[in-house]
Symmetry: C2
Subunit: 459 residues, 2 copies
């Protein structure tokens, strides 16, 4: 009888706890859906500030405005964290032509971030199309030397999540230009990393090799890539050449900042749960989905917790990282300082996959048992909000450095619907108009709910 009664009490208590959690999560969602601020904040960031590449005047404006925004919400601490960032500038708009005998066909390109300029007169050369770095290696210096290498492996549509297709095609942009330079190429054109067949170049960073002189590299729109590829196939070399001109350059490093807001924990002020995205963006558009939505959601998560009257036991931070796009300096600096300051980080969530409808979270490097436990504890509570897909997987570039510096932290990636992200990613179409208010707010509420659960019941 005693045993039964204890069991009953335990179940009853569990039931009550569960009920309390349900109520709190419902309150968070009601606040997000009735009084959400992330969408109007994003409007300001996109339309009144705009593109904000690291080192730019707009990036500095964004830092100052973000600090004021979070101060205005009355968080316990709001402060800047100094970090030196690269300062790459695009310069004049790029020009490019496919040269077909006497015909010059203009095509849309955009210099890859961190690329070097062409000579002022531009570069004209024959084109070698490859689909992979391996193919480049097979062709070798005899074929590549003096040519423009055209990386043209499209997204593989068979991946269910668009992010996997991006990962699968990404080496062409990250590593392709440096690899082509080794074999004596004079320039590189990379098919835009998108599933969409359109007229927009999608930029993004490329990595230099410290032992090889960099060569100019640019993204070409998928439509133009298809056209160039067809012409190469039909006309054969050397009738088709390519011309491009770009005047980008890397200026000296600039002092910039991560922007941090904090609600201090009532029980464990030196233990942290963080949520963050990156404040910098590419220069071709407004950085709406990449990653205006992420930083505006991060601030909103803290606002939601505060507005619903929740006092976290552990400190909760919103981190607006600087320089995710072309250097990762902000993320690196944050992890370094956290380690230096002996902060204990329980969990870090990164939101940098667009502001689309929430699906769930991926837990970085956790065991199958850990994941099972998380699902047992939290899936049923998140299921009514359709943010209950809790899986193993990556987290994000900005929180990645915490792995080495802050042992024990659980890194979590916020996972919204992925299908439309690369349609706009790094392109002139990454604008406010492509963000849906409810999708954005539901994401903020989902992250606030998970942080509430971790704060209450751990991982």
């Amino acid at each position: 009888m005693k045993k039964f009664s204890l069991l009953f009490t335990a179940l009853f208590t569990a039931g009550l706890l569960h009920a309390q959690d349900s109520l709190t999560i419902r309150k968070i969602y009601d606040e997000a859906l009735l009084n959400g601020k992330a969408y109007e904040n994003l409007h300001y960031l996109c339309k009144d500030i705009g593109p904000r590449l690291s080192g730019s005047a707009n990036a500095q404006k964004a830092v100052e405005w973000s600090k004021k925004l979070m101060e205005g919400y009355g968080f316990d601490k709001v402060y800047l964290q100094e970090v030196m960032v690269p300062h790459w500038v695009r310069g004049a708009k790029e020009t490019a032509f496919i040269i077909d005998g006497n015909t010059r066909i203009p095509v849309p390109i955009a210099a890859l971030g961190m690329s070097v300029a062409t000579p002022v007169q531009g570069i004209t050369a024959n084109v070698v199309e490859v689909r992979s770095l391996k193919e480049l290696e097979t062709l070798g210096e005899t074929v590549i030397k003096g040519k423009i290498v055209f990386f043209n492996r499209p997204f593989d549509p068979r991946f269910i999540e668009a992010g996997e297709a991006y990962g699968n095609a990404g080496d062409q942009r990250f590593a392709g230009p440096a690899a082509a330079a080794k074999y004596g190429a004079v320039g590189v054109i990379v098919r835009s990393l998108t599933e969409s067949i359109d007229d927009y170049p999608h930029t993004g960073a490329t990595l230099a090799d410290k032992d090889t002189k960099s060569i100019p590299a640019a993204a070409i729109s998928t439509k133009a890539a298809n056209k160039l590829s067809n012409m190469l196939r039909l006309r054969k070399l050397p009738l088709v050449k390519f011309y491009f001109k770009q005047s980008c350059q890397t200026l000296p490093d600039v002092l910039s900042y991560n922007v941090i807001g904090e609600i201090t924990g009532t029980e464990n002020p030196n233990k942290f749960i963080s949520v963050g995205g990156h404040l910098d963006s590419w220069d071709l558009a407004e950085g709406a989905h990449d990653d205006g939505t992420g930083v505006m959601q991060a601030a909103e998560v803290l606002r939601l917790l505060k507005a619903t009257g929740y006092k976290p036991k552990n400190s909760v931070r919103a981190v607006f990282f600087m320089n995710e796009e072309n250097g990762h300096r902000g993320g690196t600096k944050y992890a370094e300082l956290a380690a230096q300051n002996k902060e204990k980080h329980i969990a870090a969530i990164e939101t940098d996959e667009g502001g689309f409808t929430p699906r769930g979270f991926s837990f970085d490097g956790v065991s199958a048992d850990f994941l099972k436990n998380i699902n047992n504890k939290y899936k049923a509570l998140l299921e009514p909000y359709e943010v209950d897909r809790l899986v193993q997987g990556g987290s994000g570039t900005d929180i990645e450095p915490m792995k080495a510096k802050l042992p024990g932290v659980v890194l979590i990636g916020y996972r919204p619907d992925s299908q439309r992200y690369f349609d706009v990613h790094h392109s002139p179409n990454d604008v406010f108009e492509n963000v849906n208010k409810r999708e954005l707010q539901l994401g903020a509420a989902g992250m606030a709910a998970l942080i509430y659960l971790i704060d209450q019941h751990g991982l």
Copy 2:
């Protein structure tokens, strides 16, 4: 030992079956993602045919083209099913003003489907704003008589699925005009059924009451609804009046058709699994998400099964229902004929919630045990494709009549992401450009996968 070995064999066989299912589903997805036709077919339906309200010349064009499309795919049977449908026409574009003293402020309206016209000179009257049918009842004839009733209850943003918010606000449009007519109103204006705050009226059918003379009813854009509501609040009656004019009418019924394609079952030709959407659309746009995506997915489901070489044991049908929007005659006729022909229907899937990213399926009127069983059998197989949210819930208007006519059939609603649907639903923005190719194809593949599983392993 014998027992162990039997168990082992059973598990081994189960494993093999599961592996075979996994392979077939992967083949279906590969075909959909590499060679999918639904998107280009939708382009034709939207751009070369366009709006196709029941009884219109375009609806007839759509019928003929759909039949040819499915014949072109070589399905075992493709045929038309006769059905008489209402023929409502909008007539000249509507005009409406808020009258504020001597000022006339033009506002965007659209006659509700099946509404009657105003007198040729239009209607001018004072406005009574209400939020519900209950409030209308409370005010009663003394307040309502001679007035224009303005139903202005917005979507409740706290619903997680937008469809629930639609359901919650929908009575204003379906039943509001007939209710207002009873109390002597001279006209009705209904806030557009959308979460979006925009300048577009969202039309949709309203239901007449056979004992009450119908009064003209129109949808007003949400922005204009907010403006009108503010003016009524600030200026008070009777300074603010409303004027509108519309010339819609209902012509005699027209002969039209459901369009049906079929792959005949190898074992049970008279047992059916169907998938369908509706071919008719509102007249304000192209009916892209509502429900061009649904019918194009239905045809694609059969094409996918055929292209992957799968020979279903039971017959599989794609049904393009006619007249979902303003009469449900096609769905009613289909169920009647199926019952008459003594067809055994195992399951019917309806896809009429837009062509967005798949989330799962809802099973209509099933028990908790039934649902648990379905989840045990199929969730793990659908999970890699993120279409594994298998829940209790509604199915759809077109298959609903099967409930009474075909006992034993399981009705299933295809459930894509709901957030953006009502932004475009029944409005001039329901155009091809708002459909994403991958989202559409993933949905077709998800439905083909479920049909494959039901065909193999039942429900």
